[in-house]
Amino acid sequence: MEDFAIKVENVSKEFRLPHERNSSIKSAVVNFYKQKKGYEIQKALKDVSFEVKKGEFFGIVGRNGSGKSTLLKLLAGIYVPTKGQVHVRGSLTPFIELGVGFNAELTGRENIFLNGALLGFSRKDMHKMYKDIVDFAELERFMDQKLKNYSSGMQVRLAFSIAIRAQSDILLLDEVLAVGDAAFQQKCFNYFEDLKQLGKTVVFVSHDMVAIKRFCTKAIYIKDGSLIHSGSPSEISDIYTEENIDRSTDGNSEGALSKANQIAIKIKEQSQDNVKIEIGYKSKNKDPMYIGISILKDGISVAEISTLGKHKIVGNGRIFYNLNTDMLNGGIYQIGGGLFRLNNKELVAATSKRQEFAVKGSDPSKGAALRLPEAWEA
């Protein structure tokens, strides 16, 4: 009994990149007579095979230009593979990006109907869903305004509210989390949880290892068009993080994050209500610096503090911060930090790996990071 939702067999994709603008008949004729190929072959994907099982939350990880988006477009049926085959079982969302077909000159309302039609809904369906969509996007007041008067955040909210109506068995999501504020990201995460509950198959492309680890049940790592590794999300996340640290330290670039300055973070000790964070720093020149750290939950920064105006940071040394965890709700938190030049606030070094710590507690009446006091008044 096969239970795959998507099966990719030995898929390769090549693009012809024209040397110069070749889309005129003249150059086509000239090249034909010169027996010259007016293009170069670029191999975007090389012999990739994998299977996505039904109900899996499947992550695709890779750097920019590694072929992730090409792969997603092949899955969506927007591209046709040069070699190999893509089998899909069940209905599949046809879009890979939010707000496809949005037109700035149309009103929010008109865009909802247009976008809905692109997702395969009839006007009747859309009339039924219209109110839910608008409510979810929290944009009632703006529906009769042209989209060009919307902020980008509003546009994303509207697009997302429509997109989640898509009733397919398999969903493709490309970096949706890269946009929107923290509240919106939380909505995305909630939606992902719902999808998992419903047993939908999701293919999810992201740079965000936290999100990959949190949601995915399986992941693959793609590099330069080839499938490097396939395994559990934490495995993939480790490989990806490792490779990318290598990259940033290998190149002796003159960039802002030069080796002359370094910063590292360690959890020194953790007690019931306190996390002692140790921050070590190295700076070759004698410029005055300051250190900033940020506490993250679910990839979103929830608190930041710096030594600016409190302590002088010069040369090599270490400094501690005592984080009182009474302020935080239960969950997994991460700490990252950066070393900044005092005079121009330029970032000269950042921690290559975030440190994790857990805060105990699972009070169902509380959510997100900040622990609010019981200040109810009836």
């Binding site: 879009f95 496809v100 000159e105 009839s122």
Partner: protein, 268 residues
């Protein structure tokens, strides 16, 4: 075949056409009224220039209407092919990011043109009544003639829109061909002005010339000054060449479009 006209696809075509219309007259004060005003003014201009000044076609009954119908049909053909030609490239954002049947984009832009044609024909009908043109029984043929023009234009549209993705010269070339076609088709002048019968025959082989002449014959007058393919070839099989051309163009357009459409997303 049925899935081509599935509920999904119909809804999408309707929505794309609706969007097209909303955007077309955006920011204009008179809005949709322009769809009717344009043929109206066209009629006035044609009337003044070709009936009052140049006095062409004095021997053809109801010449002003005869003129208007020809121009309206040609304009439809012109508008549909030009709009469809750029439709695929113009909707590149959709094609690169969503899987929808590609032909739907061409179809929806052709339907926009078709709606415009019907608005124009309303104006023509009004003038038919004002000029006391007797209704002919042959008017029943008009829908079929319109269908012929539509199918011809659709075949060309599919071919042109797909070719335009690869070769951006196509729109200039097509512009020139349309210009030539406009003067090589008896739209502004009656075909009787061309005295050489061989030339007459060559001209009427063009499906646009044949269909416009047939439309005029069918709706306005049976006068023997209206030369149709049937009259010219006197029932010989030559008169079917325009229809064969239409079928050929459609077949060619569909085949080419189908082959190219798989690569639209990467070529745009």
């Amino acid at each position: 075949m049925r899935h081509y006209f599935s509920k999904k696809n119909r809804a999408l075509v309707a929505e794309l056409v609706r969007t097209d219309f909303k955007l077309r007259y955006q920011g204009s004060v008179l809005g949709y009224a322009w769809s009717l005003l344009r043929p109206l003014f066209l009629f006035v201009i044609l009337y003044v220039v070709f009936v009052r000044f140049i006095k062409l076609g004095t021997d053809v009954p109801h010449y002003p209407i005869y003129l208007l119908l020809g121009v309206v049909l040609w304009n439809f053909f012109n508008e549909m092919t030009v709009q469809s030609l750029g439709s695929i490239v113009g909707r590149g954002d959709l094609i690169r990011k969503i899987r929808i049947p590609r032909w739907i984009i061409v179809l929806s832009s052709s339907i926009s043109a078709l709606i415009n044609l019907f608005l124009n024909l309303i104006v023509v009908t009004v003038f038919l009544f004002i000029n006391h043109v007797d209704l002919l029984r042959t008017t029943l043929w008009l829908p079929l003639i319109l269908l012929e023009i539509y199918v011809f234009a659709l075949g060309l549209s599919l071919f042109l829109s797909a070719a335009f993705v690869k070769f951006r010269d196509v729109n200039y070339i097509w512009e020139v061909i349309l210009q030539a076609g406009f003067y090589l088709t008896p739209i502004l002048y009656p075909l009787t002005k061309i005295t050489n019968v061989t030339f007459q025959k060559l001209i009427i082989l063009n499906p646009m010339a044949q269909s416009i002449q047939d439309a005029r014959y069918a709706t306005i007058t049976h006068s023997d000054k209206v030369i149709t393919a049937h009259r010219l070839f006197q029932g010989g099989w030559f008169e079917y060449i325009p229809f064969a051309l239409v079928a050929l163009v459609l077949l060619m357009g569909v085949t080419y479009f189908k082959r190219q459409s798989e690569y639209f997303a990467e070529n745009i």
